[in-house]
Amino acid sequence: MIKISHISKTYKNEEVETKALDDVSFEVKNKEFVAIMGPSGSGKSTLMHIVGALDTPTSGTYVLDGEEVGKLSDDQLAEIRNKKIGFVFQAFNLLPRTSALKNVILPMVYGGVPKEEREERAKKYLNMVGLGDRMENTSSQLSGGQQQRVAIARALVLNPSIILADEPTGNIASAQAEEIMDIFQKLNEEGHTIVMITHEPDIAEHAKRIITVKDGKIVGDSNKHRQRKVKIPMSS
């Protein structure tokens, strides 16, 4: 359902042209768990921004669930970001001085979910990620791992087609990082499609398929590795 065809992205900075992506093509089908791995500067972040409809390619096409994203208006792109894509960022990006509950509710506000339903749904997902007793806490009262779990609940709340995670464990201690990976694996087993960007091979191996990127090109795409399953069960 994600079809990337001959995508290129060039940045023009005054007189210097940087080619971030060079003729990249691949497909991701439903229920896949894909890791896009590469060193910094490889173009993996640029690729994620295009998949997430946050940026447009210089050339090539991106088809999401049969719709060509490049042809959509600004408002239509906003709809896609709202309903089809669930973002999980490296820096968590929760609203400061706002409770976990209100953070998870936010996409539903823009998504037109009736007011009465919102709190219930938010609570359901917060419980799912194990934060049922921390719903009123603000980000300053939560650890890195807990904040990321709030972000995951937020990403799930409108039942998106893909969960797009950009270095989800980059700002988290390793013990809690395992918990996050456990959540992703469980979500994938339940049928969610997950695309994860990372530069760490250890993290990438938690996915089922690894696409390797270097200098703006795909240099590897395999599921031959043994998927690294999380041994520590998720704490409730």
């Binding site: 997430g52 600004d74 823009y110």
Partner: protein, 412 residues
């Protein structure tokens, strides 16, 4: 009521919580609006109160009152200093009284006035001395607190008697005790006090209680040494015939002064309405001018709001990027910041209104003038403050909505 997917009430709640994050900054930002609106309301209110106060005071003097002043017609209508113009004589006044041409006048009061030093042995004061006949009391609606006003006999015999206003009594006889029968010196002459008038109120300028009255002939022949009058006050029979009265007296005096052309008149006739109109327009112009200045402060306040909103937008760039990533449309973001701006100015407008009304109330209490609040001014203030919020919030809101999510998210 919804916009897109959000209820207006939600948007307002969100905007309020965003604004209360930094209360000091929010407060300072609205200060300009508060002062601007507050001063406009206070000034308009005080201006209207002044006009009303002038109206009341002039009307208390009698709405049938006509004043004939010597000297050329002026657009000011302001009474010249005593002695400005010598064209009116006692014979003029008598002619108005007796002429068959005059059908609309019921009383004629010839008058002279000059400021003089008045003293008892131990106290003195510098006040206006009116030389008057008995008709003065009727024309100017003066009532007596004790004793009697100037009589025709007093005037005929040129007696040295004086009627005092209550303020003069207080100044000259601070120890109390009735002043009737006591002696005062006006300039160098001794007069006997024969009456005290009832207080007409008022303070400061043209205080009606700070005046003394002596017989006209005494004033003209003995004290001032002038044969001409300072003015002639006339009482018309009714308010309806005021214009006819002005015409009748005007023509009579023109022919007596041997003038053919009314524009060459060496006198002028004013009714209460004329004076009222002049005073009204003068205060009106003054009020408008001050309000204009206050409006400028409002403009500055608006610029302050725009400034703060721009800073806010920059500060919340990441938040805006996040909201867009979560699905906020341009219009969502635009409306969010516009509403924040309007809430700022609206709250400022309400506070300013309270401040303006409070100030006006205080001043009216301190100066014993009426307290006037015009509902139009209030509506205007609210409308203007909301308008300023929309006008000066527009650019920052546009800027916020146009941020690209990816740039915004990268922003440190």
């Amino acid at each position: 009521m919804t916009h897109g997917n959000m209820e207006y009430r939600e948007i307002i709640t969100e905007a309020l919580s965003a604004l209360t994050v930094n209360k000091l900054r929010t407060g300072l930002a609205t200060l300009g609006i508060v002062i601007g609106i507050g001063s406009v309301i206070a000034l308009i209110s005080l201006g209207q109160a002044t006009q009303q106060s002038i109206q009341e005071r002039i009307q208390a003097l009698g709405s049938n009152l006509l004043t004939v002043n010597p000297g050329a017609q002026q657009t000011g209508g302001v009474r010249g200093a005593a002695g400005g113009g010598t064209s009116l004589t006692l014979d003029d006044a008598k002619a108005i009284q007796t002429s068959p041409q005059i059908t609309t006048i019921s009383a004629v009061s010839p008058e002279v006035d000059k400021r003089q030093q008045v003293s008892t042995g131990s106290n003195n004061t510098n006040i206006r001395i009116n030389g008057a006949t008995s008709s003065y009391a009727e024309v100017h609606k003066i009532t007596m607190d004790s004793g009697a006003f100037i009589t025709d006999q007093d005037d005929l015999n040129g007696r040295r008697v004086v009627v005092l206003g209550p303020q003069v009594v207080t100044d000259l006889f601070p120890d109390g005790g009735g002043p009737i029968g006591k002696a005062v010196r006006i300039n160098t002459m001794t007069f006997e006090v024969v009456g005290v008038t009832v207080s007409k109120g008022g303070t400061g300028f043209q205080n009606q209680d700070d005046i003394a009255y002596i017989p006209l002939s005494t004033a003209q022949k003995q004290l001032f040494g002038q044969s001409y009058l300072s003015d002639i006050s006339l009482e018309a029979k009714s308010p309806e015939v005021m214009t006819d009265a002005q015409n009748e007296v005007g023509y009579l005096l023109l022919s007596r002064h041997k003038l053919n052309d009314p524009t060459q008149a060496d006198f002028s006739i004013f009714s209460q309405q004329d004076i009222l109109n002049t005073a009204s327009s003068a205060t009106g112009t003054f009020t408008t001018l001050l309000s204009g200045i206050a409006a400028i402060s409002l403009l500055v306040g608006g610029i302050g709001i725009m400034n703060i909103m721009l800073v806010t937008v920059t500060e919340r760039t990441r938040e805006i990027g996040l909201r867009k990533a979560l699905g906020a449309k341009k219009s969502n973001i635009n409306l969010q910041f516009l509403i924040e701006s309007v809430i700022l100015t609206f709250a400022g407008g309400i506070l300013g209104m309270i401040l303006g009304i409070g100030t006006s109330f205080l001043v009216s209490n301190l100066t014993s003038s009426p307290f006037v609040i015009s509902p139009l001014a209030i509506l205007l203030a609210i409308g203007v403050s909301v308008g300023v919020g929309i006008l000066f919030g527009w650019y920052p809101a546009q800027k916020a909505s146009k941020l690209q999510p990816i740039e915004a998210l990268r922003y440190e």
